[in-house]
C-alpha cells in the first residue's frame, strides 16, 4: 500500500506524459483517458500552454518573434500557474484523475537549452505538486526529426531558431531537439520518469502505461 501513496495530499491523481515534440504524447493521452473513463473514474485532461489568458499572448509573441529567453520562460510559467491554480488543483481536490500533456519538466528542458540557469527555472515551478506517475516517451532524434517534418513541419521556436544555434533550419532543429533530449535524459532519474521506448507500437506503449495506472487504481487509493 505504501508504494501507492500519493505524493500530494489531494484526493485525485496526477499523471503526466512527457516527451519532445512528435514523441506521440497526445495519442497516448487520448488512449489512457478512454481506458480510465471506461472504469468510471473522473478524468480531466490539460495540455501545455492552454490557459485562457496567456496562451494567445505566447502564440502572438512567437508569431512576431518578440520573445527573449527570459520572457519566454516567464510567459510559460505564467500560463502554467494559471492552469495549475484554476484548473488542475481544483480538479485534484475534487478527486479527478488529471492527465497532463507535458508538465514543468518541459520548461526545465526548453529553458535550460535557451541558456537559463536551472535553479532559476526550478524556482519558477517549485510550488507545483509532484505527479503520481510521469511517463516519458523516449525517442531517438532521427526518428523524431522525420516525424515532425512529416507532420507539423518546422516551427521557428520549436527549432530553437531564437537561440541562434544555426541559420540553417534543419541544422538548428537538430541541435535544439538533441539538446532538449539531453535535458530530458538528465531528468529521468532525478524525477523518477517511467521511460518508455517511443518507437514501440502505439498499442504496446498504451499497455505499459495502462498497467502502471492500473496498479495505483487497484491499490484502492481512489476509493
Amino acid at each position: 500500500m505504501e508504494k501507492f501513496k500519493k505524493k500530494h495530499n489531494y484526493d485525485g491523481l496526477l499523471i503526466v506524459i512527457e516527451g519532445t515534440d512528435g514523441s506521440g504524447k497526445s495519442t497516448q493521452l487520448e488512449l489512457l483517458k478512454r481506458s480510465i473513463e471506461d472504469q468510471s473514474y473522473g478524468v480531466m485532461v490539460s495540455e501545455w500552454k492552454t490557459s485562457r489568458l496567456i496562451a494567445k499572448v505566447i502564440d502572438d509573441a512567437k508569431d512576431r518573434n518578440l520573445l527573449n529567453a527570459t520572457t519566454y520562460s516567464l510567459l510559460y510559467a505564467a500560463d502554467f500557474a494559471d492552469r495549475l491554480e484554476n484548473t488542475i488543483i481544483p480538479a485534484l481536490k475534487s478527486g479527478f484523475i488529471v492527465l497532463l500533456d507535458r508538465y514543468y519538466y518541459t520548461a526545465l528542458a526548453r529553458d535550460v537549452v535557451r541558456g537559463q540557469d536551472i535553479e532559476w527555472v526550478k524556482n519558477l515551478y517549485e510550488y507545483a505538486p509532484e505527479p503520481d506517475l510521469i511517463f516519458y516517451l523516449d525517442m531517438p532524434v532521427d526518428v523524431l526529426l522525420k516525424r515532425i517534418i512529416g507532420t507539423t513541419g518546422l516551427d521557428f521556436y520549436e527549432s530553437g531558431r531564437d537561440v541562434g544555434f544555426s541559420t540553417d533550419f534543419y541544422k538548428s532543429f537538430e541541435i535544439y531537439q538533441k539538446k532538449c533530449l539531453e535535458e530530458y535524459n538528465n531528468m529521468k532519474n532525478t524525477y523518477n520518469f517511467i521511460s518508455i521506448d517511443g518507437t514501440k507500437p502505439i498499442a504496446e506503449i498504451h499497455i505499459i502505461m495502462q498497467s502502471e495506472v492500473q496498479k495505483i487504481l487497484d491499490s484502492g487509493v481512489m476509493y
Binding site: 489568458l53 527570459t70 520572457t71 516567464l74 510567459l75 505564467a78 532559476w120
Partner: protein, 224 residues
C-alpha cells in the same frame, strides 16, 4: 547571487522611484525628466506594466478579476523582463539616464502583500539590474487613499480585493496598502532604498532628488 545586489558597470545610470499609489512618485519623476532634458541629458523613461508584449493582457485580466496572486506576479515579471531587455539594458549600455516609475521592488512589495513567498519572488527577479538610485516615497495609507480616491473608489487590485480582506473597498485598501508599506519598509535596509517623506512639498522633494542624483552622477564622473 542576485544581480539586484551587485553594482552594474554599464555606462548609463538607472534611477527608480517606488511607493504606493498617491505617494507622488510619478510627479517627481516627471519633473526630474523635464529638468534633465532641459539641461541636455539623454533620458529614457519607462513605467511599470507598460510593455507591448503583455501589459494589455494583464490589464484585461485585472478587469475580469481572474488572476491568482502567483499568476499576477509572473505576468508582471514578464512585463518587467521585456522592458529590461528591450529598453532599460540597451539604454544603459548606450549611456542614458534611465528613469523607471516602479521597479522590481514594486513586485516584492505587492506580491508579498498578496501572500506570495518573499524569497520566491526575489528569485524570479534575480536578473534585474541594480539601480544606481532607488527612492522610496513613504506615505501612510490614509493619505494615499485620500489622494487617489478623491474622485473615485479604489480599484479592485489596488484595494487588494482579490484577497477578500474586507467587502468594503476603502477598508480593504487600508489593510492591503498597509501590508505593502510594511514590505517597502523592510526593503529600505535590504536593498538600500532611499526613503523620502512623501508628505513634504513638491519643491522640497524635487530638490532632494536632484541632490541625490547629482551625487550618483558625480561618482560616475558626470557633473550636472
Amino acid at each position: 547571487m542576485s544581480k539586484l545586489k551587485e553594482k552594474h558597470n554599464l555606462k548609463g545610470t538607472l534611477i527608480c522611484v517606488e511607493g504606493i499609489d498617491g505617494s507622488g512618485k510619478s510627479t517627481q519623476l516627471a519633473l526630474l525628466r523635464d529638468w534633465l532634458k532641459s539641461i541636455g541629458q539623454d533620458v529614457i523613461f519607462t513605467e511599470w506594466n507598460s510593455s507591448e508584449l503583455i501589459s494589455k493582457t494583464t490589464k484585461l485580466a485585472k478587469k475580469k478579476n481572474m488572476l491568482s496572486p502567483r499568476t499576477f506576479s509572473l505576468l508582471h515579471a514578464v512585463d518587467f523582463a521585456d522592458r529590461l531587455k528591450q529598453v532599460i539594458d540597451p539604454a544603459l549600455k548606450a549611456g542614458f539616464i534611465v528613469l523607471a516609475d516602479r521597479y522590481a521592488y514594486t513586485a516584492f512589495a505587492r506580491d508579498v502583500a498578496r501572500g506570495v513567498d518573499s524569497q520566491w519572488v526575489r528569485k524570479v527577479y534575480d536578473f534585474a539590474i541594480k539601480p544606481d538610485l532607488a527612492v522610496y516615497f513613504d506615505i501612510n495609507p490614509k493619505t494615499s487613499m485620500e489622494r487617489i480616491c478623491s474622485n473615485r473608489a479604489p480599484k479592485f487590485y489596488e484595494a487588494g480585493m482579490d484577497l477578500k480582506l474586507s467587502n468594503d473597498p476603502y477598508e480593504s485598501y487600508m489593510i492591503f496598502q498597509s501590508r505593502v508599506i510594511k514590505e517597502y519598509q523592510k526593503m529600505v535596509d535590504e536593498f538600500g532604498l532611499v526613503k523620502i517623506d512623501a508628505t513634504e512639498s513638491i519643491h522640497k522633494k524635487q530638490t532632494k532628488i536632484r541632490e541625490l542624483l547629482r551625487e550618483v552622477l558625480k561618482a560616475k564622473g558626470v557633473e550636472i
